[in-house]
């Protein structure tokens, strides 16, 4: 296998890592803030891809498709948060199980509306020009995906670390009781973060569409990846999600190339190592 092959696979790994970051950063923030593992997150990703597909088929551009998916999934997430999860406040397990049930409902509705055939979202021509560098040719779209994920990571990091809103989020992740005590509007914060996380997953779905395609079962494949990323990186940490996403992207991509039958098993090796030595994740706060 040539150097070109390894470079190309590395780019694929980076692109998958970027998609996983979009998926799991929202998951991680929601979990960190509300203690709810949102098991519909994979379904949001898939539904986002389908919404994007329909927008593209209606003749709109790629950017419009991403934005539309983001808005639709954010609204859906907001409704779920407002009318289901909030009713179950302080019953974490019930909340998690509701999101699991919703994941199935969403997946089956997708199957009903968009049929069972795998469909690839076309990458826009202005993004899919091959890029020449170091004497090799790289698919331009994957480079674009990596760039987007890095930009989003920086924006999220600025939001969490440099704004008043982010300060409130950080305080609530650390100690929700204390945060409520000092007058942080926890409920509004939950809603906002839930919508934001949902929107990121939905937009990630569209962005991933030209690479992964969209098909029934995509949700069930993406959800465990998101879980692995979050367990690896540590709950509630943007940096952890970023590092975890890229590690997972590499392990999964190379696992799939070299040992396709066991790519899922290989995927779990880093998670097991981290759980054995640092159960709270690479960037998670370890319990005192």
């Amino acid at each position: 296998m040539s150097i070109g092959f390894w470079l190309l696979q590395s780019l694929n790994a980076l692109a998958l890592g970027g998609l996983l970051f979009l998926l799991s950063s929202g998951f991680s923030l929601i979990f960190g803030l509300m203690r709810v593992a949102n098991l519909s997150h994979g379904a949001y990703f898939m539904l986002g891809a389908y919404v994007g597909l329909s927008v593209l088929q209606a003749g709109f551009g790629f950017i419009e498709a991403i934005l539309a998916a983001g808005v639709v999934i954010a609204v859906l997430g907001g409704l779920i948060e407002r009318f289901l999860l909030r009713r179950l406040a302080n019953r974490t397990l019930a909340q998690v199980l509701v999101t699991l049930g919703l994941a199935f409902a969403i997946a089956d509705i997708c199957l009903m509306l968009w049929s069972g055939d795998p469909m690839q979202l076309p990458a826009p021509r202005w993004l899919s020009q091959p890029i020449r560098a170091f004497g090799f040719v790289f698919p331009g779209y994957r480079v674009f995906v990596v760039e987007v994920s890095i930009v989003v990571a920086i924006l999220l990091w600025l939001l969490i670390e440099r704004t008043k809103l982010g300060a409130m989020v950080r305080a609530s992740v650390d100690d929700i009781q204390m945060a409520r005590g000092v007058g942080i509007p926890a409920q509004k914060l939950f809603s906002f973060i839930f919508c934001l996380g949902a929107a990121l997953a939905g937009m990630g779905g569209v962005l991933g569409g030209p690479i992964l395609s969209v098909y029934p079962g995509l949700d069930g494949e993406m959800l465990p990846l998101a879980l692995v990323v979050v367990i690896l990186g540590g709950i509630g940490s943007i940096g952890g999600a970023f590092v975890g996403a890229y590690i997972t992207g590499f392990v999964y991509t190379f696992g799939q190339t070299l040992l396709p039958a066991f790519s899922y098993v290989i995927l779990f090796l880093p998670m097991i190592v981290v759980l054995a030595f640092r159960p709270s994740g690479l960037f998670g706060k370890s319990a005192p």
Binding site: F31, R35, V36, A37, L39, L84, R87, L88, R91, T92, L93, A94, V96, L97, V98, L100, G101, L102, A103, F104, A105, I106, A107, D108, I109, L111, M112, G220, L223, P224, L227, V228, V230, I231, I235, P260, A261, F262, S263, Y264, V265, L267, F268, M271, I272, L275, A276, P279
Partner: protein, 324 residues
């Protein structure tokens, strides 16, 4: 007779009636539904050890049923094993798998435990789906022959159902004994007050790990019955939807009660059968039922019925004394 023993008597009569019902109806169709309910019931009871008695919500339990079924299928189809020898190997494999997965999953508690079990369960799905040279991938493994037992041909639905009743009764009695045993009480204690249990001398982690293995073992038993009944195994049987389905049985019936998972299994299997006869939207219904049960009936059917019975039955004198 105390009210409690009368409730037990009523439950037992209802159970016997329910077990006899498919035979009374006579047609193979109903008898086969009976067999499916019992297989699901054994499966759900095994998960109930974790979810109900141990307070550990696993969303990856189908992996044990599926792995056990795959091992039986592979050994009988490709390596010339007899069904029963293959079953013994399958149970060994599932126990080892539960020991390893349990050790990993129990690094986390609560929602983290749930996430790890989900991820590990999907691993097994991934292996079954992708390792197609061995597992047949998306085609699954068909044509596993139903074995004979003591010279009886179990292809006959009534006989197979009889074997399932025997297996189910063994599982149920075993479960009842377990819940009253030292280990069973210890497990229930670690569910309610893990820290106190540690201080009282109970090794919380080890108790949970053993419970995880026992649950895996019984899921393996259910897997053997499953492959015996269907003669076919597909990656979907180890997938997330199947794990969620069995969890729904436990929760809908009543987690932490002896008969809850049995009632839950009957409800889910019959519901699935009826719905599938009219529309192909079982997954949608599964999802919606899940949401509805969690919000509207979080305790499950059996605890609700128990309360109803208590309200109807007049309390006997010794109960009155105790509650005055």
């Amino acid at each position: 007779m105390t009210r409690k023993s009368r409730i037990t008597l009523i439950s037992l009569s209802l159970l016997i009636l329910a077990l006899a019902a498919p035979l009374l109806m006579g047609q193979p169709f109903y008898i086969n539904i009976g067999s499916q309910v019992l297989i699901a019931a054994i499966f759900a009871m095994s998960l109930n050890i974790l979810v109900g008695y141990g307070g550990m919500t696993s969303i990856g339990h189908a992996a044990y049923l599926g792995t056990s079924a795959y091992v039986v299928a592979l050994l009988t189809l490709q390596h010339g094993f007899g069904f029963y020898t293959a079953s013994l190997v399958a149970l060994g494999v599932v126990v080892i798998m539960a020991a390893i997965f349990g050790a990993i999953a129990l690094r986390g508690t609560g929602i983290t435990f749930l996430m790890i079990t989900l991820a590990l369960g999907q691993t097994m799905w991934g292996v079954a789906f992708r390792w197609s040279e061995v597992t047949g991938g998306d085609n699954g493994l068909p044509d596993i022959k139903r074995p004979d037992l003591f010279g009886l041909n179990l292809v006959e639905p009534g006989l197979f159902y009889g074997v399932m009743i025997a297996l189910f009764v063994i599982a149920l009695v075993g479960m009842w004994i377990f819940t009253q045993s030292g280990l069973g009480l210890s497990l229930q204690g670690t569910r309610d007050q893990p820290r106190r249990m540690g201080m009282l001398g109970h090794h919380v982690w080890l108790v949970r790990w053993i419970a995880f293995i026992i649950a895996g073992f019984w899921a393996g038993v259910a897997g053997i019955a499953f492959i015996g009944y269907h003669g076919y195994i597909h990656p979907l049987s180890l997938g997330l939807a199947n794990s969620a389905e069995v969890l729904l049985m436990v929760i809908a019936g009543g987690a932490g009660t002896l008969l809850g998972p049995v009632v839950g299994a009957a409800i889910v299997v019959v519901l699935k059968m009826v719905v599938s006869a009219y529309v192909s939207r079982w997954v949608l219904l599964l999802g919606c039922t899940f949401v509805a049960i969690v919000i509207l009936l979080p305790e499950g059917v059996v605890p609700g019925l128990e309360r109803l019975l208590k309200a109807i039955l007049p309390a006997a004198r010794d109960d009155e004394e105790a509650s005055s």
